[in-house]
């Protein structure tokens, strides 16, 4: 094309040679040399657009990741240079391609798309350019455009295997399975397959089989599968056989499918899906109401599997789900005895799955009480005089303590649980699990600080165990001891980073959520928001991580995993890690909207001092960084410091509700089946005064959980807000026609009935708010809230705390009375403990811990 190049692009031979070298140096990552070559050309031809573009790209690629202080201006320089290059040469594919690559690295998909499109206009057949475009189009889910680009690519490179196969995938992603299979057939007749490795051939065939199933072509798929196994292209282990079972089932060949599930179980007898598939193919509907007959059939099958696979717990555990009454009692006892004999710490977590059935929970309690009773008397558990291992009683105490304090119990017995654990500890004082259980029981009773001290004892027994370390840190966070938690976590994080930085870099979701919650609890909304936003950033990174795989997987031919990745990323933010953090952050944003004064920094003198210290430290660090950047190149060039270390900039946002909406949008799309999504959406839209969206949120919530207490409150709130607001007629008309179907009763009746019959803590809390919303009667609200402390209501510290917070805003004079009643109901709840007592308690715990360390140390020496 050189002969047709416009004049301003032409270079004399010497520079032209340098230019080609520059291209190679960029590809070989010899960035320094590249920049030097570019500078030599630019000295003579400062307006040469393509050289400017390549220099910008080379400079940009040479920057460190994460960006350091000294690299910031260089990045800007590269960005500006890339733009200048376009101005100098607007018809060059290189200048546009480079602009696109830089936009892509900023994750500015729109600009990158436009730039790549411009570049392709200049040079439609440029292979690297098409490849980059396909990745971007796929990443931004522009499947038809990606498909067109794939097509074009195949025309240019028909002899390459992956051009064909990638086109198959492009058709699949675009939703055209028939075309995908057709391209695959063309590929087989056009290209000989030699060259592909064994694993590659296997990946290809396995994925084609998946497409056959998706396309409903089970018979053809089955034949291909058989052929593939016969020829040794695919191994019958794992997915291949599972696909076979599915195809057989789809073809109505239940008997063969059953046999195939049997084969799968022989490969892996701990896979629950295989058992469920087997039982289903046996014609026993698992989801339907079970008849006694099918129940006993299932149990027979499971019992024979238990014999065939003696090392697998699955058939014995599944039997607990499907049995009832005396049969359940018999099976559960055998299962529990076996677990206690082996000292399996997870036995409770395993068995408690059946507790959703209150009858089964009761039976399990009776079984374990009976075991404890017998073992305490040294009696044998069976009639054959066999002796139980001495640790069995200890594990029985452990189980029973968790059982008695389990939140589903109407009246959890915390004192007895602790008593049992103390007995176990007397027997074996060095087992961390016993202290962990104590911590859990205390946590359930609301005694968060005591719980943290017990968890710390568990940690002290095995300081090398990261699991115990993390648990202890988590319990400190829950008790509000943020600093202590961070100090502990530092034991296992990188030494040259703060533990928070390291855990953030490593995308440690639990930590970000827990520390955010801890900050929120102590009223530091700025830091809480910072942690929740860090969570949102982690999920953004999870999304961005897929980018390289659009190209990589086509090369590695791992199509099945790739298509799952695409589907997974599309619903990524339905993950509870995102969900919980986003909901919490949204609540903070609505708080800021309601009362912007909470963003004003109101600190106690100690906090003020601490803040000043931190600010000084940050300032120093920045000054040092700047200095280092100015004096040296590579060494001592620190990463760009956090511009908002305290989160205050986040909190002081001018647009809290828009920030909330940004976090909420993915939930609307991906967690639409959760009532919380719509409850949270309502709080956003009502504040934005977008009444129809608020109405839609209420309607969606109602279709999911019509009796949700918070929803009942929101309906009342909506009615009141819209009745007093000035609305356009059209909006009013919609509300007037829709609202009656939301309000099943009049507001007065609703609040009355909620107030009267409410039993669950959540119902009581929102009934109180509803009452106040309707009639503004503080007295009635207080009386409703007091019910949370009644004997007949399961004690719930979360709603008690929320009630106190509510009263502090609306009716501060009632706080004391209500708090007093809650305290009488939950005597060990840390939040209701007066601060004077807190200090004494804390000293006691601290003393206990010191004594504990001393004792353990002595024992260790023995």
């Amino acid at each position: 094309m050189a002969h047709s190049a416009p004049k301003h692009r032409q270079l004399p031979d010497k520079e032209s040679k340098l230019f080609r070298e520059l291209l190679t140096q960029y590809e070989l990552k010899q960035y320094k040399k590249g920049i030097k070559a570019a500078d030599t050309i630019l000295k003579k031809f400062p307006n040469h657009g393509e050289t400017l573009a390549l220099k910008a790209l080379t400079l940009h690629s040479s920057l460190p990741e994460p960006l350091t202080v000294s690299a910031v201006p260089k990045k800007e320089e590269a960005e500006n240079m890339a733009r200048l290059a376009i101005k100098k040469d607007i018809t060059s594919h290189i200048t546009w391609h480079v602009l696109g690559i830089l936009a892509k690295s900023r994750k500015d998909w729109d600009e990158a798309s436009r730039a790549f499109a411009m570049a392709r206009k200049q040079d439609p057949d440029n292979i690297p350019l098409i490849r980059d475009s396909i990745a971007l189009l796929t990443h931004t889910r522009q499947y038809p455009a990606a498909l067109a680009a794939r097509h074009h690519y195949l025309l240019l490179r028909p002899q390459i295997r992956s051009s064909w196969l990638a086109l198959v995938i492009a058709h699949q992603l675009n939703g055209d399975l028939d075309e995908a299979l057709k391209v695959f057939e063309d590929y087989q007749t056009t290209l000989k397959e030699e060259g592909a490795t064994g694993p590659e051939k296997s990946q290809i065939l396995l994925h084609i089989l998946r497409i056959y199933i998706e396309a409903g072509k089970d018979q053809e798929g089955l034949e291909k599968l058989r052929q593939g196994v016969r020829d040794g292209v695919i191994s019958p282990r794992g997915e291949c056989t599972l696909l076979k079972a599915q195809m057989l089932a789809n073809l109505g060949r239940q008997e063969d499918a059953l046999q195939t599930y049997q084969e799968l179980l022989e490969q892996n007898s701990d896979n629950l899906e295989y058992y469920k598939g087997y039982l289903q193919k046996k014609g026993i509907g698992l989801n339907a109401e079970l008849t006694d007959d099918s129940r006993s059939k299932i149990l027979d099958t499971l019992s024979s599997f238990a014999e065939i696979f003696p090392r697998s717990a699955a058939p014995r555990r599944l039997a607990l789900d499907y049995s009832t009454g005396d049969k359940f009692r018999e099976l559960a006892r055998a299962y529990i005895v076996k677990g206690l004999e082996r000292g399996v710490p997870s036995l409770f977590v395993d068995v408690k799955g059946v507790y959703t059935d209150a009858e089964k929970m009761k039976i399990v309690g009776e079984i374990v009480e009976e075991i404890v009773g017998k073992l305490e008397k040294d009696a044998s558990l069976s009639n054959d005089d066999s002796i139980s291992p001495p640790t069995m009683l200890l594990w029985a105490y452990y189980y029973l303590s968790l059982h008695l304090s389990y939140p589903l119990q109407t009246s959890p017995n915390y004192p007895r649980s602790l008593d049992l654990l103390n007995k176990a500890i007397e027997h074996t004082p060095t087992l961390p699990e016993l202290y962990m259980a104590k911590a859990m029981v205390l946590k359930r009773s609301g005694d968060l600080l005591n719980a943290a001290y017990e968890m710390e004892k568990a940690r002290l027994l095995d300081g090398q165990d990261r699991f115990l370390n993390g648990k202890s840190a988590k319990y400190w966070l829950r008790a509000g001891e943020i600093k202590k938690a961070e100090e502990l976590l530092a034991v296992f994080t990188k030494k040259d980073l703060s533990p928070v930085q390291d855990l953030t870099d490593l995308q440690c979701l639990w930590f970000l959520q827990e520390e955010g919650d801890a900050y929120r609890k102590e009223g530091n909304l700025a830091m809480a928001l910072k942690r929740y936003q860090a969570l949102a950033t982690v999920f953004q990174d999870y999304e961005d991580d897929q980018y390289d795989f659009h190209t990589y997987c086509m090369r590695r031919m791992t199509f099945g995993a790739y298509v799952s990745l695409m589907r997974y990323e599309d619903q990524l933010r339905s993950h509870p890690g995102y969900f919980n953090g986003a909901l919490a952050a949204i609540e903070i944003y609505t708080q800021v909207f309601d009362d912007p004064s909470i963003t004003e920094e109101n600190f106690s003198p100690e906090e003020e001092a601490e803040r000043k210290k931190q600010a000084k430290k940050a300032q120093k660090a920045e000054a040092k960084a700047k200095k280092a950047a100015a004096t040296s190149g590579e060494k001592n060039d620190p990463p760009v410091p956090d511009a908002d270390p305290t989160g205050i900039q986040l909190l002081k946002t001018e647009t809290p509700i828009d920030d909330a909406l940004k976090l909420w949008r993915p939930l609307e799309r991906l967690a639409a089946e959760r009532v919380e999504t719509w409850l949270s959406g309502y709080e956003i839209f009502i504040r934005k005064k977008i009444y129809l969206a608020a109405l839609k949120a209420l309607k969606s919530a109602q279709s999911i959980a019509p009796s949700d207490p918070q929803l009942q409150y929101q309906i009342l709130h909506f009615q009141k807000s819209t009745s007093s607001a000035e609305l356009p007629e059209s909006v009013k008309a919609v509300i007037n026609s829709e609202l009656p179907s939301l309000l099943t009763t009049t507001p007065e009746e609703l609040s009355q009935s909620l107030g009267g019959n409410a039993k669950s803590p959540e119902e009581i809390y929102y009934a109180a708010r509803g009452v106040f919303e309707v009639n503004g009667d503080k007295q009635q609200m207080k009386e409703t809230l007091l019910k949370l402390g009644d004997e007949g209501v399961t004690p719930n510290i979360k709603y008690m705390e929320k009630s106190v917070q509510l009263l502090k805003i609306i009716s501060p004079e009632d706080v004391e009375e209500v708090q007093k009643k809650y305290r009488a109901r939950c005597p060990s709840a840390w939040v209701f403990t007066p601060s004077t007592e807190k200090e004494t308690k804390r000293r006691d715990f601290e003393g206990g811990l010191e004594g504990f360390q001393g004792e353990r140390y002595e024992e260790g020496k023995k």
Partner: protein, 163 residues
């Protein structure tokens, strides 16, 4: 506990379990790299609530030199503390090993372990049949040495009969 091949949906849970349990951690992309290169080799143990309580993250040696047989490698394996004594590590390892043989014709499997981690060494050697075949000086970021351990698949029947 349910034991099954890991899918893309499991990777966040695996990352979480790894961060809870072990000092050697990786960002999400590294898990993606495993799952999108050797999708059959990683396994998870899942509790009744759907929480991942154990995992094996495994791969093949990526660029085997000619004349060497395909070799599997365990990048990371762990079981959350409360879920020990169920034999989960053993089951996860077995599933992964069988997949290595079935899909990649692996002849052996290797892993690294901290020289000081006696509990892990004993698990690999006494329960899983590995043996130390090399010492790698300063393998870990903090400078600690690693033992390279290896298990040959053709010896499998022998180990199984003694287990």
């Amino acid at each position: 506990m349910d034991i099954r091949q890991a899918t893309i949906d499991d990777l966040i849970g695996m990352q979480n379990a790894n961060l809870l349990n072990l000092p050697e951690n990786y960002t999400f992309k590294y898990y993606l790299y495993h799952a999108l290169t050797w999708p059959e080799l990683s396994y998870v143990a899942v509790d009744p609530r759907g929480r991942i309580v154990g995992y094996i993250l495994a791969k093949m040696e990526d660029e085997p030199s000619p004349n060497t047989e395909p070799s599997g490698h365990v990048t990371s394996i762990s079981v959350l503390r409360p879920y020990r004594r169920l034999g989960l590590a053993n089951k996860l390892m077995k599933q992964s090993q069988e997949a290595m043989v079935a899909h990649y014709k692996a002849s052996h499997i290797t892993l690294h372990v901290r020289k000081s981690n006696r509990a892990a060494i004993s698990l690999y050697r006494d329960t899983l049949g590995f043996e130390v075949h090399a010492m790698e000086k300063g393998y870990y970021a903090d400078g600690e040495d690693a033992y390279g351990m290896r298990y040959l698949f053709n010896k499998k029947s022998e180990v199984e009969s003694t287990a």
